[in-house]
Symmetry: C3
Subunit: 214 residues, 3 copies
């Protein structure tokens, strides 16, 4: 009986807290990414990848807790599907950063271009906006404006990342004559560009939630 | 109160009209793709990609309007999830065509093979069937047969595209000795093959809707 | 009226039987994959791919039957969405194995490394656990422990596959100097690694279903 009451009671705090945890992980992991693309040696990159992987596993655990809570809670602060989608898209961001760091350590490219650093910094910039948007989520009915603003910033950063990635691709095919390096660099930087896409996608879902409840 | 009544009133026309708009965009964008793979110069390809991108942005706007309408309408002409999935898979088609044109302009391949033209024409052929199926959607309860026929055509065209792509891949690995060209051509044509997959997928969802309501 | 009663009657057996069919297909198709990566000649690989494709088409038919049944049944043994997701993720496994065999026959790599055999064997090992988990599914309320154990095994095998794939990638970029071979081998083995991911994902969904109903 107690258990049932527990299940019926809105668990707003729980979900908001877990999503904030995901936001904090994304900030940490993207900070590690900025360091990893600038690593002075293979050993340093390997050590940074180890730290990225720890964050990735932490995100997996939060994600599992969120899904278990969704299955065990009758009333959620907003649509169950939206919470699930926010959580799994946040997890995608972490996976993409992890995949980028992993590829750096496995592929051992001769050198990473300046655009890798630019892209990692953009992933980190978006992570900051996302974390702030997730911090505001528990007051989205009262103050939707701020979240809408963060969501707009995510679009702007993602467009910048697109431009950086496009310039990188043009340059790569024009100047890199070693096909194996082309493969390596293209796949490493692509994960960062996709991370900003996923970050923008989270912003879009959050924005839709706000519109739905306004 | 008026607003509530507005929300309760079935908005059939609205959804059907917006899906028809998506159908028209797919026809236009695939027509541009046929031209883009045959562009006589890099400048022409760039100009065609610019037009493709306009269509891609138009599709994004329709897609956003559809999702906003889904969130604001209590009664939809058929399952909310199905409308959402049709719309987002149509958007995938446009994104894939856009990605193909973008890659042509960024990668600057030495030359595109005849199979690129064949594939673009198949994407365009499927777009025609899709647009017709979407035009029939508002009378799917009365005349399901025609839509089933278009859906069958989408399967046929997708199989043809599979064969063309397979032949292209075999030929590419047999004759192209420049690994960088292999990367470029493979990635450009792959988007067209995936576009026919997405077109077929839309046909399948529409078919399922019809079966559900028959 | 009879039709309505038919629709109302729980069709547990039907769904469990169809999911078991999918499990059997995954065992067969992964067994063919183990043979295909060890094929002594191109002709043998082509013949094995033909058999893989047959299984892939069989899986498509079961998948279609499952979705039609989901649309026509009012009461399902567990959440409709979960049955759909289990079914489509099982189908992903088959598609990935099919794609691997297809690439072997289209790309004609000079030779496949030992890690290809290892990976195919891991896909097959996971297929065994999956098939057993699917066989237990109709008694998941009575005996959840066994399914949880199979699900844990799927995680273990997937991690092994990750390690094998990582070692392969390091080795490939260190020793293979022919960029075209790099592309071919990387893409062929990647599908096998992704197949173990999809197998693990099915285990995770099944585990979630069990927790939901416990």
């Amino acid at each position: 009986m107690n258990n049932l009451l527990e299940k019926l009671k809105p668990k707003e705090d729980k979900f908001f807290l877990m999503l904030k945890e995901m936001g904090a992980i994304i900030v940490s992991v993207s900070d590690l990414a900025v360091k990893c693309v600038q690593a002075a040696s293979h050993e340093e990159a390997v050590e940074l990848y180890r730290q990225v992987k720890e964050q990735e596993q932490a995100a997996d655990l939060v994600q599992t807790r969120i899904f278990e809570a969704l299955n065990n809670t009758f009333i959620t602060p907003f649509d169950r599907e939206d919470i699930g989608q926010i959580s799994s898209t946040l997890d995608d961001v972490v996976d993409l950063v992890n995949s980028c760091a992993k590829r750096i350590t496995l592929y051992k490219p001769k050198a990473l271009p300046a655009s890798a650093v630019e892209l990692a910094k953009l992933v980190h910039e978006s992570a900051g906006y996302l974390a702030q948007a997730l911090d505001e989520l528990d007051s989205f009915k009262k103050r939707p404006e701020k979240i809408k603003e963060y969501s707009a910033q995510l679009v702007t950063v993602e467009r910048k990342a697109d431009d950086v990635y496009e310039e990188f691709i043009i340059d790569l095919f024009e100047h890199e004559k070693d096909a194996i390096e082309v493969i390596k660099l293209k796949e490493i930087l692509h994960e960062l560009e996709r991370a900003t896409d996923a970050e923008r996608a989270v912003g879009k879902i959050i924005r839709t939630v706000i519109i739905k409840y306004s």
